[in-house]
Amino acid sequence: MAASNDNDIIIEVRDLVVKYGDRTVLDGINFQVRRGEIFVILGGSGCGKSTLLRNLVGLMRPYSGRILINGQDFTAMNDEERTDARKRMGMCFQGSALFGSMSVGDNVALPLREHTRLEESTIEIMTKIKLELVGLGGFGDFLPAELSGGMKKRAGLARAMAMDPEIIFYDEPSAGLDPIVAAGLDGLIRKMQHTFNLTSVVVTHEMESVKQIADTVCMLERGRIVGLGALEELRALDYPYVQQFFARRAQDESQIDSAEYLRSLTGLE
């Protein structure tokens, strides 16, 4: 990675440890995200990538370690400060998380109505601009249930963009979409980056998406980073899990640790 000065770093994660009870889910995570880049967190199911995302957006507090956003310690903020910091972040949830009883336009307008003193007439125009941006101009009066899966994702993106955030977090943006719609969404993520110099943090396990959008890839395995850098740098890593992931090879179930397996069945040490 090229050398960066401090102003270029928008997110910094230092020695992050996250536990669920006694179980360590993330163990000593360290990385930096540069302003304006698309940073992809990649890994298989259960590797801890969604947990990492929840910590980055402040939905969970870590066991230890720090997350700095624009140089400020996000993990040390009180609730009010975190709410304030979150206004500069947008979140695209995996299932879009649109309110089903509200129109698409009202969903997009909601953060503006909740967090700003803008007049309703200004909010209405802003909402239309955001819907145009994601290709949903004219769909403001539709209910989420009347949209296709890809359109819902785009509506979710429009809502995430409502407050003109500095950073957008995406949780599995292409999950459940056909390849054409998924490619369209990848294009949209790139467009947002180019247009607004937006920083994007994308959690995914979709390799095609990674190829299209990633500037930097952070690969997780069992809660640890096993690769960090440009996609080509990761490809060149001589590390079995990374190679297995890129080659899409299934785990060999015959290679089990028999002692560990027995322990898991009986609880005997």
């Binding site: 503006l112 803008l118 200004t122 125009i125 802003m126 955001k130 941006l133 247009t195």
Partner: protein
């Protein structure tokens, strides 16, 4: 940088000079200045955007509101010498062709 606004009468029309950042928090002030000028327009209303360092979509929406309000009153409404930062968001929102954009009055 906060937004500074100055409304002056020049060559028979209102010129609103904006300096600084037009964001979610400052846009209501720009809106108030524009709507006040449009309600007493003299020969027209122009918004000087040459010293605007940052504009988000709330600023763009505010300019659209000004254009709409001026249109309803049949008042001329123009943008003067938008900075690069402003032009970029206008272009991205595909609104650069909607406004009367001039280099000077």
């Amino acid at each position: 940088m906060a937004l500074e606004l100055l409304s002056v009468e020049q060559d028979g029309q209102w010129v609103i000079r904006a300096k600084g950042e037009v964001d979610l928090y400052a846009s209501p002030d720009l809106r108030a200045a524009i709507l006040k000028a449009v309600s007493d327009p003299r020969g027209g209303v122009a918004v000087d955007l040459s010293q605007v360092e940052y504009m988000d979509s709330s600023g763009v929406a505010t300019l659209v509101e000004g254009l709409k309000s001026a249109g309803q009153r049949k008042v001329s409404f123009s943008l003067l010498a938008p900075s690069q930062a402003v032009m970029k968001v206008l272009q991205l929102s595909r609104l650069d062709s909607v406004f009367d954009i001039r280099e000077s009055l």
